[in-house]
Every structure is written in C-alpha cells, then in structure tokens.
Symmetry: D2
Subunit: 350 residues, 4 copies
Amino acid sequence: MSAKIPVTVLGATGVVGQRFVRRLAHHPFFVVQHLVASERSEGKRYRDACAWRLDGEPYGGLGDHVLGPGSEEGSFSPVVFSALDTGPAKEMEPAFAKAGALVFSNASAFRMAETVPLLVPEVNGEHLGLVEAQRRHHGWKGAIVTNPNCTATVLVMALAPLHATFGIEAVMMTSMQAVSGAGYPGVPSLDILGNVIPFIRNEEEKVEEETPKLLGRFAQDHIEMAPMVVTALCHRVPVLEGHTEAVSVRLKGNPSPEEVAKTLREWRAEPQALGLPTAPRIPVHVHDLPDRPQVRKDVEGDGGMSVHVGRIRPCPLLGIKFTLLGHNTERGAAGASILNAELAHAKGLA
Amino acid sequence: MSAKIPVTVLGATGVVGQRFVRRLAHHPFFVVQHLVASERSEGKRYRDACAWRLDGEPYGGLGDHVLGPGSEEGSFSPVVFSALDTGPAKEMEPAFAKAGALVFSNASAFRMAETVPLLVPEVNGEHLGLVEAQRRHHGWKGAIVTNPNCTATVLVMALAPLHATFGIEAVMMTSMQAVSGAGYPGVPSLDILGNVIPFIRNEEEKVEEETPKLLGRFAQDHIEMAPMVVTALCHRVPVLEGHTEAVSVRLKGNPSPEEVAKTLREWRAEPQALGLPTAPRIPVHVHDLPDRPQVRKDVEGDGGMSVHVGRIRPCPLLGIKFTLLGHNTERGAAGASILNAELAHAKGLA
Amino acid sequence: MSAKIPVTVLGATGVVGQRFVRRLAHHPFFVVQHLVASERSEGKRYRDACAWRLDGEPYGGLGDHVLGPGSEEGSFSPVVFSALDTGPAKEMEPAFAKAGALVFSNASAFRMAETVPLLVPEVNGEHLGLVEAQRRHHGWKGAIVTNPNCTATVLVMALAPLHATFGIEAVMMTSMQAVSGAGYPGVPSLDILGNVIPFIRNEEEKVEEETPKLLGRFAQDHIEMAPMVVTALCHRVPVLEGHTEAVSVRLKGNPSPEEVAKTLREWRAEPQALGLPTAPRIPVHVHDLPDRPQVRKDVEGDGGMSVHVGRIRPCPLLGIKFTLLGHNTERGAAGASILNAELAHAKGLA
Amino acid sequence: MSAKIPVTVLGATGVVGQRFVRRLAHHPFFVVQHLVASERSEGKRYRDACAWRLDGEPYGGLGDHVLGPGSEEGSFSPVVFSALDTGPAKEMEPAFAKAGALVFSNASAFRMAETVPLLVPEVNGEHLGLVEAQRRHHGWKGAIVTNPNCTATVLVMALAPLHATFGIEAVMMTSMQAVSGAGYPGVPSLDILGNVIPFIRNEEEKVEEETPKLLGRFAQDHIEMAPMVVTALCHRVPVLEGHTEAVSVRLKGNPSPEEVAKTLREWRAEPQALGLPTAPRIPVHVHDLPDRPQVRKDVEGDGGMSVHVGRIRPCPLLGIKFTLLGHNTERGAAGASILNAELAHAKGLA
C-alpha cells in the first residue's frame, strides 16, 4: 500500500470539523497533517482549542495535535477539507486551490459556481470533470470540489436512480430537519422544545437550485441543469441528527410504487463498485414496515452514509410519494466531503 | 334569556370528552344533563371515573356528577355530544338520533355517509340542510352531525376562502401532528422522543376524502364533491397540541401571495356574523414574521379556535405555498362539535 | 385612586425584561415611563428593538414606546425594575439608587451585600427595614432591593412556614431546572434534547448562601443568617418553564408529614393579608395526587406566583422529604421584583 | 473451548427480553435454545411474535426461531434468563429452578427472599454462596439468582468501592430516570414531553431496601444487611436510556473529594480480574469536565455496562456529593443478568 496523502482540515474545531477529524483519524487513504481553526487558536493543542462534542475517542485521538495558521503557506497539504462558514470559505478556499490543493468543501460559497463540481459520488461522479475547466479558467493548480446542502444531498440520493430510470419532471419536498443542521450553539432550546419552526434561512432556495445542478449533465466546462421543477418546504423539528423528507415526484411513464421500490432497492453506483471506504454497501435502504424509516431508529446505520426510503405509495397529484431519511451531518456534510475525496483519489485526481 | 338546552356527553372521561365537559360547564346555550362513559363507570361520580388531564378547574366543576347509563333511554337529552371511538359510535349515535336527539359527533363513523353533514361552520354551514334528508331517509326524529378529522378541519379553514375567491384545483398537504391527536395513553414516549413517525393510520385517507366533501356544494339530499385533487402526507412529531401543515395549492387565475394573504386576512364567515360563543373573532390569523406561525407559541390563542397562516410564498410547482397551523383537540375536535351545535341552535335546529 | 407611579425598566428587551413589561403594562400601582436596553437600541421603538418571545399581547402593548438612554438622568423614574446582567447591574443600579430611585433588581450583583434586602414578601417582608441602613451607609436617597435566585426563591416559599412553625436544621435540595432559567438564546438544543446536564454555573452556591439570608432575622443594619445547613445539587432538564425541586429537611420536633402538610396548606403571609395585586391568594398549593405536582401541568397557575408541594413523606435520613415546584421566570424573576415593589409601596416606601 | 451452554429466555419479546436475545445471539458461553413469550405466541416465529425495538441486527438474527411453551418441561435449559413481569415470575421462576435450571432473573419477585442472591458481580460476588442454602431450603436442584432494580444497581456500582474503602453511614439519592425503565408502551408521551414526573411506583422503596442487601455481608444462609441509612427520591424525565442520580454520602473518616475520586477511579473487581465477556474493563469512569457525565453523551459507552461519576465535591450536610450515571436497561437489566450468569459460570455453578 502506498503512503497516505497528507490532508488539512479547515474549521477543525466546529461540529462538522470534528466529524472530519473523527473520520480522518484512521482513514486508509488520508492522514491529518494540519488542523486549522480561528486565528486565536493557532499554536494551541487541539484538545485545548476544541470542545469535543462527539462520542467515540475524544479528539479522534489527535488531542495533542497543535493547530496551524490559517494561511495556505503555513498549513498546506495536497488535500484540504473545509468545514468553514461561507465568509471565510470565500477567501481561504481559493487561496488553497491556487496554491495547488484539492479542496473538498462543505461550505455553500462556491457550490453554484459554473466550473465547480457539486458532487455526490453516487449521483454525478462525472461532474469531477469540471476540475479541468476550473483549473484552466482560474489558472489554478488545485481546485475546489463541493458537496451540496445536507437536505439536497439526501434528496438526490433517492432522486438519482429514479431520474436515471424514468426521468423526473417535478419534485415537491417537505423537510423535517434536525437541530444539528444549524451547528453549535445553533438552535436555542427555548425555540425548539415541543415546537416546529417552519423556516430555515436560505434552505428552500438551496434545495431548489442545487438539485437541478446535481442531477444535471456534464458538458465539459459547465453543467446543463436537469429540466425539472423543484419546490421545497423546510422545517426544523426537535430531533438531534437526521433529516426526514416527505417527497412527491412526477416521473415519466408513471411507474408503479413497486417499480419505484425495485429501482431504489437495486441501485448501486460508482462508489459501491469501487468499494470506496466511506461508501455504504447499499446506498438506499427501502423499508417495508408501514411506519419506517424513523429518524431516531434508522439514521445512524452505515455510519450515516446510506439513506432510507419507505411508504412508497401513489400520489393522486404527482404520481408517487414516499418518506426519505438521511444523516445531515454525515451523508450531508463530513462524510460527504470525504467520500468526494475518495472518489477523486480513485480517479487519480487526489 | 331562554332556558338552557340540556345535553349529554358520550365518552365523557376521555381527553376529547374532558374538553367537551370543560367547554360545556359554563356554556351560554347548553347545560350538562348526562355524562356517559363505559359501562363499568355507570353510577360513579365523574371525579372518580375520570383521570382529569386538562388544566383549569378540575372536572369542569362537575366532579360530583354521577355517570349515566349508555342507553338512549337512560341518558337522553335533546342535544348529544359524542367523543366516542368508531366502534361504539356506530351503535350509539344512531340510537340517540332515532330517539330524537341531535348528535354532534367527533367520531369518524358517519362522516362520509351521504346524508350526514360533515360540518365546519365557517366553511359549509349550508350543509346542515342535509339533516332534513337524513331524517327522511332513516325515519329519525333526531339526526347526526359530524365534524371532520382534525387535520382536515384545520386545512379547510384556510382552503375555504381561497376556494370561494379563486377556486382550488389541487392541494398538497404535509402534516407535522401533535401527539394529543392519538388520545391517551396514545403515542408511547419511547416512540416519539427525538423522533418523527411518518405514518398515522388512515389519516391521509381521511384528509383526502373529507376535504372535497367539506368544500362541496349542498345539493338537497347529498353533497356534490368539490372537483379538486388532494394529496396528504402525515407525520407525528414530538409536539403536545397543534398540527402544523405545509400546504401547496394550485388556484385558478394564479393569484399572487399578496392577494392570497389579503383574502385570508379579510375572511369572515357565518359564525363571526352570528357572534357564536365559541367562534373566534378572526378565523384565520395571517402572520408577517418569517418564522411564524409556530405551534408552541401560537396555537393556544382564541381558545384554539382560530387557525394561523404564514410564509405565503410562490410555489414553482403549484403556484402558492404556505404554513398552516391549528389546534387539533379544540378546533379539530371538542371546540368543533360545540361550534357545530351553536350553529344548529342559531339556525333553529337545536 | 391616586396617580400611578412612573417606572423605568432596565434590560427591557431580554426575556425577564419582557415579563416586566407585560406585567407592568396594566398594573394598578405603576405605569411605564422609560424602557431601557443596550446603547445601540436607544431611540428605537420597543417593537423594533425587541424580539418578543411571550404569548399574549405583543410588546405588552408598548410596541411604540421609544427606548431611552441608559443613564439615570435620561431615564430616571422613582421606581426602577432591573433585568440587567451582573456586569451592567453593578454600575447602573447604584447610579439610579444614588439619584433617588428605588431599584427592584433581579440581578445577583448586590444580593448578598450587607444592607441590601434580599426580599420575598411572603417570607421576610421585615428585611425591607434594611433600606434605611443602606441609605445611611451610602448616603443615597434611593435604594436597591433584590429578589433571590429563582431556585432559592421557590425553595424558601416552602421552607419559610416550616422554619416559622418548627425550625429548620438542615435542607438538601436537588433541582431539575427549566431551560428558560438561562435566558435567551441560553441552552443550545444540541445540549439538552433528551439529556440532563448536572451543572449550572454558580447555582448551587447561590442557593446555599441566599437561603440562610432569606430565612434570617432582621437586625437593623444587617441580617442574622438563619443557622441551618443547606446543600444544593442543581440540574438542567428539557423543560421550558418551571423548576422542580426534590427537598429533604430536618425539622425540630420531628413533625409528621400530616403536620407539615397542614402547616404549608394553611400558611398565609403579609402579601395575602394586604391583597397585593401580584400576590397569589394561596402561596403554597399542597397536592394530594401521588404523582403531582408536575411542572408542565401545574406551574402556570396563579400567573406562576404560587408554588406547589406534593408527596410529603417521611425521610429515613432527615425526617421529611417532598416535591416542590415553582415558576422560575415569574415567581423566581419578573413577578418577584414586582411583588417586592408592591410590598414597598404598601409600606409607604415606593 | 468447550461446548456452549443452552439457555432459555423467558419474556423474550419485551424490551428487556430483546436485549437478552441481542446479547445472547453471539455469546461465547451461551447459546439460545428456547425463546418463550406469552401463551398465544407459542409456535410462532420470533420475527412474527415480536415488534423488534432495538438497533443492530433485527431479532438478534434469531427471527426464525420458533417460540416454545411456557412450561419448564417444554422449554427447559440448564440456564434460564427471565425478563418476566412480577406476576408470571412468581410462578415460572420457581418451576424452572425446581426442574434444575439456574434462573437469572431481572424480576423483582424474589430479590428480597432470604436465600436468593441479589447479585451485582463487581459488588457482592460472594453472595452467590446463598445458592447452596436456597437449594437446601427448597429442595431444588436449580436456583434463582436475581439482579437488582436498575436504579439500585447503578447506585451500588459507585457505593461499593466507597463502602469497602471508607464505610458508608448514610446515602441520599435523587434520580432522574429514563422512560425506557417503564418498558413498552410505558410512559405516554402526553405525560412526559417537557415534563418531570416526581413519582415512580415502588421505586424509592426498592432502592431503599435493596441497597443494604447488596452491600451486606454473606452469612452462609442469609445476608447481613449493611448498617446504613438510604433515602431515595425518584423522578421520571424525558430521556430515552440512562438514569442520572444525584448522590450524597456520609463516609467514615470524612475523606476528601480527591480521595473519593481516586478510590472510584482505581476500583477493579472480580469480573474485571476474570475478564468476563460482558464486564466493562473499567467499572466506574470518573469524569473531570465540570458538566459531565451527561446521560445522552456518556451512557452508551462500554455497551452500557460501566457507570459514570462526576462533580465529586464537598457536601456541607453529608460530606461528599457527586453525579452518577448508568444504563438502566443494560447495566440495570439485561446486561446485569447476563453478567451474573457469566460469574456463576466462571465459579463453576452454571
């Protein structure tokens, strides 16, 4: 086995950053070289700079790692994982890309940029081809590769096989989202205990614009958006981890619930074929019990990297409706970026 | 003021029954004559037969009332409120109607029967006209008048003014429902803490079939169903009281969100004109704050008898989408039956 | 009726400040003259400076009130209510007192100061006598009167009649406290959903030191601490409003649970005798049901101003144990300060 | 390695029964021979008789196992695990013991019987010696061995090393208990959402009487109760798994918090020395962070078999107070019985 690739984690002390660290601590392809947080954390040990919020081994075993500076010179690695907020992401991610790093970003800053792949490996691996156009366009040696908003990621995991098999004309998605999606400290308990909040800033817009790009066609220097109508209604509910999505779709040819179930159940994609370490063996679990999937009972399976579908039934308006469930901070954030890097690695990019 | 009308409450010890009792304890038109629960409760005092679960005055002040028999002879009153389950409702409600009582029922047993009004006073008061056909058809002196499923009730409170003003072609409704909708003991805490359950037995079917009847046209001996497509996706969430509904509608003429807001805000109906005691002054509250209505903060206003709408915005698929909120055990159950009786009384029926 | 006394609310936009405003909006003795929040809010209307978080009439009907400056010159009233944090309280409360105002403070800054009354009107009204010593000592025309920590307030409401009747030697109190006690945004939902947090900074210390002062004897220029051992164990639980306290006490003469219940049930104090507007008619409700009081079901009664006791039973170690419950942001904060001002007013001080 | 010992699980379809099955499905000493539930389940497959509520492999992989009869003839194995309710336990456990089985019971029926071991292997392994007296007294070939109430089990895990090292004179324990302790369906969500219930039937009595037996001295044909005062105050809180206990103790010699921490941290007992498969490597984890242990974050470690202690600090009344945490359905139920059986096996009894 060849030597592991050194990586940098930007935003390493936040909740997504911690999930990066936990997943990278014992990764077969990658090894942590630099952990970066805010300026005032530089020079501190990770255990002193970080309030560890996950279960399992504290600090991913990297508690004594000293935090590096926030500059591409001081903290360069050939592969970078970014758990930055939008503002810092806009500055730091291009700087690292320019310096030659392949940046796998969970931030929303560049998701809709024309030459930036918005990647879900099971869904649109060929979008990695945009990297060439991106390098050419910016004159960079490195590149930025993004993963989508958590709600959109979970959604396209179920839509991709349906779009490939039948063709999707319209999607209506109503979400019931976990509080962890807002980071830490995030949603105040006074707001959410015993409550439903029918508003998450910019969330509906992200789902509605990212989905057609995710399901779009790679056209060398841009993505042709998939021609479908997407409407999203997003809610926060008192759940810790995992987004539940009530989905209705209009599919070409009007397939039966049984055909839809079969398509989802049998779907395997490139990460499964390649056996990527973070890829779930089965990307979509189709449940038969009438009251499943349920977020608290189902979402942690497969390290949170598979999604769950149940209650596939006829919709008198659009044709098919079903329940969808996925892990917002793993499949929808930390696990997503790392799977992206694994795919890039398998394709010789990283 | 004329003498109050004596009433019987069937199923008086359950959670809806208790809400009936609390509302009837000091009602301007009605006075409790008989409280009826199960056979083994007959002869007991209400305080001994009933585990009182509401706040306010325990037992509605009727703790010493002795429970009557479950027969129409032993517990007859000219007006009857039924909080029975479907099974007992199927037997007892016709028996009381035959004996001459006007039965206002929260049960689902006869909601879709051809000559039974499925009544929401703000929405379809003229459906009370079915009582005549019902009496003729069965040869009864009394009659059965039902209120709809709680989720459907809340829904039609917002749909009725839109249907009257614009005409509705299609509705998609995704609900996030309170645990109180399942009665007591109802949903086990082990199932719902930190969870979303994407299934409530028969709930979607009820919403889909009751809505077109509720918005239908009175045609002497039956209701002509409103010609619209309704699709419902129902979920249980860890909320105590109040159903949140994410609603999308296709309206004729494609009105703007502002026109929809104006229509809802200005809507007043017969119960408001008549000043019925249980009717809210404003049936639909339209909220301007981007994150309202919220169930825990808004649902208890007006004794739970108004509904709340917010986030009225364009839907790329159906035209308009919004958040809707209402009280499932008041507007959707106990308060509903009592408002029905008040309307019947105002119209000279009760 | 004489003219109402003008009052200033410091910290008017926070959650306790909002409760002050709601209670003062229609108060028989007081009328709001100045609302004060942070510097950057000066000159704004209350509705624009404040995210209103309570139910009932928004902004207490004072939405158009323009916020005043934070100085005693610009915002002076003869009576001041302070919902400030400790830091600002340390500066502003003495400034207003020096300028002649009677400051009723919910802050902890001066609670243990020798000449500052730590007042619960039912418990130690005579401690108001300290005001004279305070004025003499500081050369102030006004004075500062504080109410205790919310957990201590609830505790002494049950301890006071027991101390007066039997004499208390030792108290052990284990609390299960609502999230509202931490203000807004306060406790992150990620921390408390489905969890118990066994630590609230400085809370145990406050209960242990404030209780003996509260139950102490007025000695002209100081309070003689009540000679009792108090130990507190404080926890945060996923409850919105209301602190539950498991209390064990060693009483002189070893009274029976029945004697303790009778003492608590029959207790009436000065605010009840004076009929102060915010005082509950019955200060301690003694529950007979074996599983009451319960915070969600009982705490909102009497505007949150009474406390609840149940399960009075023998303790093999200390003699008596019971469950105690009270409203942390009303009896323990906003309602407390206002009741203090009412007592001062009734005694001719305000 | 010798052949595995066949075992019977009584009450196999309940929540504790399911945890037995999950733990026994791949156990190094034991193999499931009979699963027994109610009479009407006899002859059904486990997957058809049981609503599986745990995560991990459904039915522990035993979904096709056919349920046996409830008689000691029909379902005999040399080792029996009982997850029965008290009523059935009183009949079936003696029948199996008489027939020669060693019955490891989670039921409360025989816990306080004079010759029945109330066993926690780390705490009182020598109590297994009672088996001989029990056999002699009843003329049985088999025997009944019980594990304590879940709350008491967690408590004695922390008390045992303190009692051995210093000697305990008095204990006050206030619990905040998970809903899973009430089984399924158990606590209604309407009762516990946003609430604290200050009453769990018989729970305080069990803790107060079982603790002195657990810490007592084996005296051949009975246990000499440990001479200490125990008082318990038990509460239900909206937590899924894990009991939090606020504990105060009076220890002989008045040791410091540091000495107590050291004693707990260094404690290892017989199951650790024997390396029993279900025993945690470290029985008591002592936490240093001021706000830990927290039930949702800490309780699932070590398969739920260790307990957690934090905030060891002086108590002005009893000397020492601390926070204690343990898993009620593993350390306090299923895992407890199985560890008991492992100890009995290691000592040549099973």
